[in-house]
């Protein structure tokens, strides 16, 4: 998908998560089962990095607390270090001044990583069509799930998280080599 990956370690070749399943006749059964297991584990232990900027933060706080609660998805603990997080939730408007910061944080995250554009400003710039706002974060980083809304209701955010979980469950998770 995106070429900007950071090599993990000299021992393992470069891993590319979120790639579509590669048909490999010999290990197909093993690969599928392995992917399902790892997908299940990863989708229920998301560590969000809430890259919070603006009004959507209010709904982010609401969705983390009761009665909406992201803890049900295993995504309760926000990790404020990009090295420890795997879900970058970009919450709110990203301006051109903030864009380098967003890019730096995304690049510092290790594979596998996913990006949720929380709110319409992160998805497409919202109604700030002017010199200051970045018209959608997908202009600078790849996005996995878009949750529109100004701000989105917590139910929409939960729907977005569940769709992301389906995506994680469906995708292949090469952990040993870049195909297995």
């Amino acid at each position: 998908m995106d070429a900007r990956t950071i090599p993990i370690a000299p021992l393992l070749p470069a891993a590319a998560a979120n790639t579509p399943r590669v048909k490999d006749a010999a290990f197909e059964y093993l690969t599928t089962r392995k992917d399902e297991l790892i997908g299940w584990a990863r989708k229920f232990s998301l560590f969000p990095y809430p890259f919070v900027t603006a009004c959507c933060a209010m709904e982010f706080m609401a969705v983390s607390a009761s009665p909406y609660d992201t803890d049900r998805f295993g995504a309760a603990l926000p990790r404020f270090s990009p090295r420890q997080a795997d879900l970058l939730m970009v919450v709110g408007t990203v301006t051109h001044k903030q864009a380098p910061v967003l890019l730096k944080v995304w690049e510092q995250m290790c594979e596998p990583k996913w990006v949720m554009a929380f709110g319409v400003c992160a998805s497409s710039g919202g109604f700030y069509q002017n010199y200051a706002a970045l018209q959608g974060i997908d202009k600078i980083i790849p996005v996995d799930v878009y949750v529109p809304g100004c701000p989105p209701r917590p139910e929409m955010v939960i729907d977005g998280i569940m769709q992301l979980q389906d995506k994680i469950a469906r995708s292949s998770h090469p952990v040993v080599t870049d195909t297995f």
Partner: protein, 158 residues
């Protein structure tokens, strides 16, 4: 009432300096020459008790010879009344005096005014961009800056 009498004094004493005093929706408005801005602000603070500088902003009138109108708002916590000082400067030398020596709040507000309109403030040595970023060319709130001209810092992916 003491407050009203002080305000009459205010109006009477500042009018010869200001030249015109109007009341706009509960706020005294004085139009001044740029050189009189700092002395008048000092008098407002010391003699009349206007202890809070609320706001520094500018209005761009591109058709006029004196293009920018720099507007200061002051508030007196004792008299509970506001004053607006307006100054006109030309486009080729949009500089007024800074009120940083009188009010601490002037620092950030003058930075913003400089960022948005390009107004210079004599005496404020920190006019770095505050709302915009290093490398932004132009002053967006001027009427000749197109609203949608973006200056991205990060190159877009394709």
């Amino acid at each position: 009432m003491a407050a009203a009498r002080d305000l009459e004094t205010l109006q009477r004493e500042l009018v010869p300096v200001a030249g015109a005093a109007t009341v706009s929706h509960g706020c005294f408005v004085f139009a001044l020459a740029p050189g009189e801005l700092a002395p008048t602000a000092r008098r407002l603070r010391d003699e009349f008790g206007f202890d809070v500088l609320l706001d520094v902003t500018a209005v761009d009138w591109p058709g006029d010879a004196l293009r920018f109108e720099v507007v200061h708002h002051f508030y007196s916590t004792a008299h509970k009344v506001r004053v607006r000082l307006k100054t006109r400067v030309a486009a080729d030398e949009p500089v007024v005096d800074s009120l940083g020596a009188l009010y601490g709040s002037a620092a950030f507000m003058e930075r913003e005014c400089h960022d948005m309109y390009g107004i210079g403030f004599r005496g404020n040595f920190d006019l770095r961009p505050i709302l915009l970023y290093e490398g932004f060319v132009g002053h967006p709130l001027r009427k000749d800056y197109p609203k949608q001209r973006e200056q991205p810092l990060v190159p877009y992916r394709d």
